[in-house]
Amino acid sequence: MFDSARQSMLWLHRFIGVGFSGLLLIAFFMGSLAVYDRELDSWMLPQTRLAPVDAPISLDRRVLPHVASLSEGKPLMQWYVELPDARRPLLRFQAWTLEGKGYSRFLAPTGDQVLPDAGSRGGDFFYRLHYTLNIATWSAGTRLLGLAAMVGLIALIAGVCIHARLFQDMFTLRADKSPRRLLDLHNLTGVFALPFHFIIMLTGLLILFPLYLPAGVHAVYQEQADQFGAEASAAYRREASGTPGPLASLDQMMAQARLHWGNGEPTFLRVWHPGDANAYVEISRSAGDRLSKDEQTLYFDGASASLLHESRLPAAAGTFKFLAGLHVTHFQQPWLRALYFLAGLSGCVMLGSGLLYWLEKRRLQNANGRFGIASMTLFTSALITGMPLATLAMLVANRWLPVGLNARADWEVQVFYGAWLLATAHAAHAIWRSPQRRAPWSVHCLAISVLAVLAVVSNAWSTGDHPWQAIKHGLTAVAGVDLVLLGVALLAARVGWRLHSRSGAVVALGEVKNG
């Protein structure tokens, strides 16, 4: 079938690329946005825009007195707080009742203020979309993305093997040669970010390995898969006694934890079986200053505040937490986070340029076009410009939907999918009309530009926090999102205008030839 190993690898690379680029593009684009999920929270949830507070926070005063009212006085299995950090100057309270009902609210770090209900899923929507595709049935979205990551790794290795001039072409971009420039862009982004792409797909698979490879866990733990998780993370568990009991000072436990870790800061505190004599408190260390996701969790007795257990991870679990930390980016270093964001976008460029190169080559080989080319053009258009359009439409809707709207967060999600569908329908219409089966790239780019500007203006109009004002008030996350949106608007306008001028020139040339 193939004359050489290189040819077979080329076929494999193309087959996987065409078949799975769509899923990988969603994962890379949404994953890149998820790097700044808390900054997007701040932009999409204006009620959470508070200036950072330097004063230490007392959980005994700030949270404990409000637990009953925040959870409607129901008996709880657990409640927890995420503590403020450099990226989110807020406390996040969550509680779960014995029946499994959940409560979630943001609290201001000082004073008695409980922030109003969110009315938006914020950055969490993009984060969950990047690894679940929002398909919960049988975890089908996560399984599909797992398959895409696995074959993506194979495509990456095959891509390196078929790249005959890997070093010679390392800095080569033939911008004036089409479609060669697309292949150059595909190779450049693929080669420069090769370690990132490899690690991010591998760790993406590793994080969810119990879902993808459950047989080993089931063989050892049978029906008690939770036990595996508890043992792997060296966690402490004890059941509720059924008799009431007091809860000692949480501030005292946090002080003990700080002393135990040396220079570490707590990031998360959970109270198990609150109100029970067997209550215990779990305190995790912030991973903001390192790569590993190992939280070095400490467990305290709820009644006496004495240390019950320190989770010391086995070597394998420690390695796993390090690799998981490389993927989930819990560290706070702003420059490293920016590089993760850029590397994620480079993955999008690699996948997008690969698809476009494949399309252009097919177009040259079949000058009159065929149904296959038209459908692939629609597919790439829906992904490359449709997905950013939908994202921007969601941001605009976030600022335009009335605050009191019932199920407001669901409306935002519907706008996202609606805009994506609309962009795809528009692309289908344009491709069907065009004799060359071209996607409406220029129109979509110009629409992206308009929506990005509209999002910034809407934010300034509805909250008064235009970029300059946001910087003045210390809201760097809001100013950052706005400035990135303006950058996107400029870039998309430039690309859209160039494509529009070029298509005009091509039409004029066609008229001269036909005339």
Binding site: L173, F192, P334
Partner: protein, 103 residues
């Protein structure tokens, strides 16, 4: 502030190192330096290696071994693209790097 400036310095060193690596290919040298004699690959590649190692050492000094190494690898993405785009559209801007090795 210090961390930010040091991170910027790491990336400047990476751009310098990758520029030398690019110029060590005769095609790029001719595009940037026109008629100036090619100094050979050895000097340029040693220069590139030194700048990139220095960037790696500096990133570790600032961020520690693990984070510094990840920073260095990820820094290659924007720095490599900057060098490529300069070679493509503003090749004259790399003349300064080439002159360091000119005869």
């Amino acid at each position: 502030m210090v961390e930010g400036l040091s991170s910027l310095m790491v990336m400047i060193l990476q751009v310098a190192g990758l520029s030398m690596l690019a110029l060590s290919q005769i095609v790029h040298w001719r595009k940037v330096m026109a008629d100036e004699a090619f100094p050979g690959t050895r000097a340029l590649r040693w220069g590139a290696l030194s700048a990139l190692v220095l960037a790696w050492v500096l990133s570790q000094a600032v961020l520690g071994f693990a984070m510094g190494t990840v920073f260095w690898f990820l820094g290659l993405v924007p720095c490599g693209m900057v060098v490529t785009l300069l070679l493509c559209w503003r090749s004259a801007w790399l003349r300064g790097v080439g002159r360091l090795f000119g005869t």
